[in-house]
Each structure stands twice: as structure tokens, then as C-alpha cells.
Amino acid sequence: MFDKSEEERIGVYVCHCGTNIAGVVDVGSVTHFAADDLKGRGVVLSREYTFMCSTTGQDLIQKDILEQGLTRVVVAACSPHLHEGTFRTACERAGLNPYLCELASIREHVAWVHTDHAAATAKAKAIVSGAVERVRHNEPLDAIHVPIDAATLVVGGGIAGLQAALEIADAGHEVYMVEREPSLGGHMAQLDKTFPTLDCAACILTPKMAAAGAHPHLHLHTWSEVEKVEGYVGNFTVTIRKRPRYVLEDVCTGCGICIEKCPIVVVDEVHEAGVGFRKSIYTPFTQAVPNIPVIDTETCTYYVKGKGSCRACEKFCPTEPNSIVFDQTEQRITLRVGNIVLATGYDMFDARRIPQYGYGRLQNVFTSLELERMCNAGGPTGGRVTLRDGKTAPRTVGIIHCVGSRDRNYNNYCSAICCMQSLKLAHLVRERTGAEVYNCYIDLRTAFKDYDEFYQRVLDEGVHFIRGKVAEVSDVPRSPDEEGKLFIQVEDTLIGMQRRVPVDMVVLSAGLQPRHDAKQVGQTFGIACSSNGWFIEKHAKLDPISTMTEGVFVAGCAQGPKDIPASVSQGAAAAARVLMRIRQGQLALEPVRASVLAERCSGCRLCNGLCPFNAISFDPVRRVTDINSALCQGCGTCVAACPAGAIQGSAFSNEQVLAQIEGLLLTNLEPEAELA
């Protein structure tokens, strides 16, 4: 059955990974097994080492390739997703084709998941045996080089996306930025101050927005969404759906007369978080970029009452031609880009989901975002903090931390920003109203630069801290003088007592959660979401910027909750990755592709309908099927389907997989017991 055992010289290297592997798997026994029992399968040497991925470990392999004439290498260590590249490169340095190296995962798939040492060792032997059988059928391959289009798509115009877009555009490359809302800015544009320095959010954000708006290499598509992504790294074709603004972007000067004249006032649920108002024709805020209004057709009289009604905006528009176009339609724009940065941000946790905190039921329970808007000088109250009546300043305020976060009923995770956000709001409320502020927290998490100092400062300012998870917020008074107050029921765990704190205003420090449509967006871009719903990065520690889809990067809260400095860092890191790709000009891809052996193809065309990338076509003259290797993504579905075995799948050939199955089954789980 096997024809290659004679000529192949296979080296097997078993890694201890410190005690990660050696603590459970008898590495010595696995090494001896490879040397003795797999001798007949082409193994000429087998070694163990503490850390194969170290320079010394790699040198060991390189030396053996050169001195012992190894033709194939098997490294039994961690998952190939971690170190396949490391060992392939080591082989390449010694002159061996990198695809003749095979990794056997005995850490993630054995040592870390099993406790029975004998069973784990037996399984490790089976996996090594499988890899040895497989590697004998590996073919030397050359990486596929694809050119990288220098244009980049950035999705999301919040602070992370802005940072990424500006850095790439500043380097002189074209950037297309797609933003769902009418203006750039994201959540940061809603904030008043930013912790811990209390910089005004608008003061540090608007220059970046303005720079993006005026940048010669940055092309904005606001009020737009990405509808479809085709192609692959270096060569994506992206379709953008541009919703109608009913205002001509290239004619409108942003004078704002239309907004002034519009007679319809509605509650702004998006930018003002429901506490402020806007017109039917509006920009979300005064510093909007682009400074071009949109018409909300759900409330505009022209659309609600029928054509011919109102038209105030059109009448007063001073531009020539008139910027208002009531019958503007949706547009589709197709772009070609080489890389994509996804910075789609987060949604606020909906505090209504926790009924015992009373949001939406008790008038003076606010969310942190509502308070944020009230504190903002550009917000609905011009920076005054008031109760729901819009007049009365609160004299006592309770801030509840971890609303919807660190709670099994809602979100398990820590939203990372709420502690600092609550401290900042406590400071702002005290500064604006002089009110007594009670912060009810589970734990205070003030890691990172200058954060704990800020906590100390807020303590010194006289803010009260109660350590305990709030049970309930109620409005039931116990005496006539308590009428109109809210009561926070909380166990103060530091003094071991139940407390009932009467306050005028309650602020719920709501956590962050993934965008409601994150899963769908992920599907559009071919990336997955974690069980919590955040986009999954390639590696949690070593590569929190890339995704499993080449050419698609993540930045900001789309990948997980984070604060502004972390979002900016990740945006800049994504830009650096993209710029590296553009600078390289081309990217080496895994040579995993299907190809047709024309002489074996019967022209049955069974495979023709299987390819979602349209890589398979039928040549009517030669009456055989062809596969376009530029379009092929290497899934191997057609290889499995071909009844004649005429389609070859490189790196995952039938021979390799069948041999690996045999190898895995050469040993048994408990050989002694089975043989007895």
C-alpha cells in the first residue's frame, strides 16, 4: 500500500512545552514510540526537548535536516494555529520545503484536556503516528502570492475607525470609510468629558473628524452600510448601500437654514439618547462630519402627509441648484479594496431589561448615557444636570455600577469602562450640582494609567462608595417627608448591613454589548462572533487585531469592551498591519487549492454546481472541468465530490487524509488491555 517508506527520512520532535505537555503526557514514551514503533514507517530519528519553539529547539531541527538528511519533519507540540508557521520557517531555513513539515497537536488536544496520563500518552502516540503517515504524502508546495490592492475599507467612523483611517490615509493610501449614521464620531461624540484626564470629548474628537472630512485620501460614505463583500485578501469587491439623504452632498453647504426652518421637532433617540430633540431634517450634532443634513422620512411632513406638503427646507435652501431632492433614491457603490478594518463599535445595554432598577418606570432613573448628554454643554440641557422635569437640580444622586455586566442573567463579562465612567459621572455631578453622590459598586476596577489616581481624587471630593450589588430601586416612601424620593436597597458588604439610601436621582451605569446585528455583519465579512457576541480575533493575546479571515482586521469595541485609549491603540495597530501589507505589495497565501487532472476527468460535471466562488467551469471543447486557481479558496468540497478522483486538493489530498486515518488507528487507546 505504501510506496514511500523506503526513501523518506522522517524526524519526529516531541515538545515538553515546559510542564504544559510533559505534566500529563509521558513525552519520553512518545519519543521512544516514534523511534522504535514507527521505524518501519520512515522515522529515522525522534527527539524530545523542553521548548521546541525556542531558538535551540528550532536549531535542533535545522541541524538534523542538514546533517541527517531528513526529508520530512513532524513536530508534536501545540496547535498548528499557533506554531505551524514557526516550524515551517525553521525547515525552510534548512532548505526543506516548508510544507513537508507537519504539526501534531498534543497540547491543546491532549495534555490540556485530559487528566488520565496513560490515556493521554496513548492518544499522543496515535496523533504522532497519524502525522507521520500523513507527512509521508505531503508534497513540496510553493505559497501563492496575491497582490494587495492599496485601497482600504474602514467600517465604522467611531474613534477606533477614525484612527485607523487617518493613519492609513496619512501614509498616502486611499481609504473608504463607511458609517451607518449621518455623521462620523460614534459613541465618543455623545460624551461630555473623558476619564481620567477630563478632556472634553468633542475637543479631542472633532479635530480628527474634521481631518477625516477634509483628507484628500479619505473618502466618506456616511448614512451607508456594507451590503456585500466578495473576493479575498488583497482583492475584495465591496458593495455599499448608500441610503438617500434627500440632500445633495456635493451641493449642500451645510448652512443649516433648512434645519432652522423645519417645523417638525422629534425626540432624538440616537444621538441624544432620548433626552433631547432634533428636527425632521437634521445633522446629529453641530460638529457633524460631513456637515450635511438628512431628512427623516418617518416624521417629515412631505412624506407623512403626502407630496406637496410643507417643503419649508426646499423653499429656504439658498443653494443653486436646490440641495433638497425629495425623490432621491438608494444608491449602490462598488469598491475594490485590499484590506478591511472593522470598527463597528457596540450597543449600550438596555437598562429596561432589569425591571427592579426601574428604568422606564420610575421617572428619575436615568442611564449613564442620558446623564452624559445632560452634562454635555452641547446637549439638551446645555450642561445642566436636572431631574426629569428639566428644572430641579438633584441634591442626592445614586450611581449603580455593573448594570447588565458581571451578571449571569444578562452579560457575564465586565464591560471594562463602567467603573471609570461612573467615577467620572460622580465627579461631574458633584461639580455641576454639589449633590451628595453614592456609588454602589461590586468591585472597583481602575487598572491602567492614572485611573486609580482619579478614583483617589473622587474619594477626596467626598463621593460616597457602597460596596454591594443593588437589589432594587423603589419609589415607595416610609414617611411623608420621603415623598418623591427614590430608594436604593443595597447590602453594604463592608459593614455587613442592609442599607436603604434615599436619593433624588438614580443613574444606571449600563454596560456595553455587541451590536445587535454583529452576527449578520460578521457573516458579511466572513468572521465569527464569540459566545458573548464580540468579533473573534485571530489570537486573544498575540494577535488581537487580525481575524481568521485574511485581510479583515478588527479595532475598538467590536472586538470586546474597551476604553478610548485602547480603541485608539487598536485602531492604530490595525492601520499598521494594513500599511505593512500595502508596503509588501503582495501576500503569501497557503497553497491550498484544488486542481483537475484532465486525463482522469470524465466530464460528468458533478462538481460544477458545488463551488460558491465560481472557480469551477466546464470546458465544452475539451469536455473536461477546469478550476480557476485564482478564484479557488481551497475548501476541498469538489475534491470530495469527484467520483473519478480527478480533482486533487493540495495540502489536504486524499492520500494524506487516508494515511492520517490509518496512522491514527495504528495504535489503540489502551493497547495492553485490548490485546489481552
Binding site: F2, D116, A119, I536, A640, F652
Partner: protein
């Protein structure tokens, strides 16, 4: 007897979701039964029914097929093809006199390490309940002293002796 039986199971994983789920189970140190030996393919659509039959013929008592959730396939829709093949294969197995429950299909996203670990544990128990396959009626090859062919020969000799 049934309690002592340790089934051997071959698991097929896809590079993007289920193999990553197995990696996640590892990095989070979840524990599951050591009976499943995984093979990484690029996609569940790559699974040729021959692979499954080969595994069963070579001594596996069960085969676990895993891939990305429907709609999440890295190759858009190829896991649906795996699903079709799995259904057909189960019918074929039944016709061959093999319990179709020996071949199980499950979806696991790259985040679902815990789910995959649980599925593996459940499937191992399911196959344990079915008992050894021993198909086609020969003992599993012993740990080979040398080549596979020789191992098979050794096993035959043993059978003759007993």
C-alpha cells in the same frame, strides 16, 4: 464488558470553526474523554464519505463530523454539503448493517469549546453503548512493531492462535 470498552473515534474538524473550538477547549483547560482523535481539514465540505468508511474499516468505532454552524461557513455554504453527505452516508451505513448513530454530525463555532467538549463526551458514551464495531470482523491492528501490513499480519496470526 461494555463498561471496559473504550471506543476509538475519529473526529473530522474544519480549520476555521470546530478545530478552533477544540483549541479553545484546550486553552481553557476543559476536560473531555480521550477517545476522539482529530483530523483537521479546511472545511467539513472536504469530507469524502470514503474517509468515514475508511476510519470505520480501519478500526474506529465511531466517527464525529464537525464544522461551522449553518450560515457561518468560512466557504459560505460548504457545510450544507457536508450535511447532505452525512444524511446519505447514514442511510448507506444502515444498509451495510452498521448503526448510523456511529457517525455523528455536529456544529461548533470557534468560540464553542465547552459545547464541543460536551458533544465529544456524549458521543463517546453513545458509541460505548453501541459496543465495539469490529468491522469488517477483524480485531483492531495491534500497536505495530513495524509496518501496517505487518501489524495486520501479526493480528491475523494472533487470531489464528486463539
Amino acid at each position: 464488558m461494555a463498561n471496559d470498552f473504550e471506543p476509538v473515534i475519529i473526529g473530522f474538524t474544519c480549520n476555521w470553526c470546530s478545530y478552533r473550538a477544540a483549541d479553545v477547549a484546550g486553552t481553557t483547560r476543559l476536560k473531555y474523554a480521550p477517545n476522539v482523535r482529530l483530523i483537521r481539514l479546511m472545511c467539513s465540505g472536504r469530507i469524502d464519505p470514503t474517509f468515514v468508511l475508511k476510519a470505520l474499516a480501519d478500526g474506529a468505532d465511531g466517527v464525529l463530523i464537525t464544522g461551522c454552524h449553518p450560515g457561518d461557513c468560512h466557504y459560505l455554504e460548504q457545510n450544507y454539503k457536508a450535511m447532505r453527505r452525512h444524511r446519505l452516508l447514514q442511510r448507506t451505513l444502515a444498509q451495510l448493517g452498521i448503526e448510523p448513530e456511529r457517525v455523528h454530525l455536529t456544529w461548533a463555532s470557534a468560540a464553542e469549546g465547552a459545547m464541543l467538549a460536551q458533544t465529544i463526551d456524549r458521543f463517546v458514551e453513545q458509541v460505548r453503548g453501541l459496543g465495539p464495531l469490529r468491522w469488517p470482523a477483524r480485531p483492531r491492528p495491534a500497536a505495530p512493531a513495524a509496518g501496517h501490513a505487518e501489524a495486520a499480519e501479526a493480528a491475523q496470526v494472533e487470531e489464528a492462535a486463539s
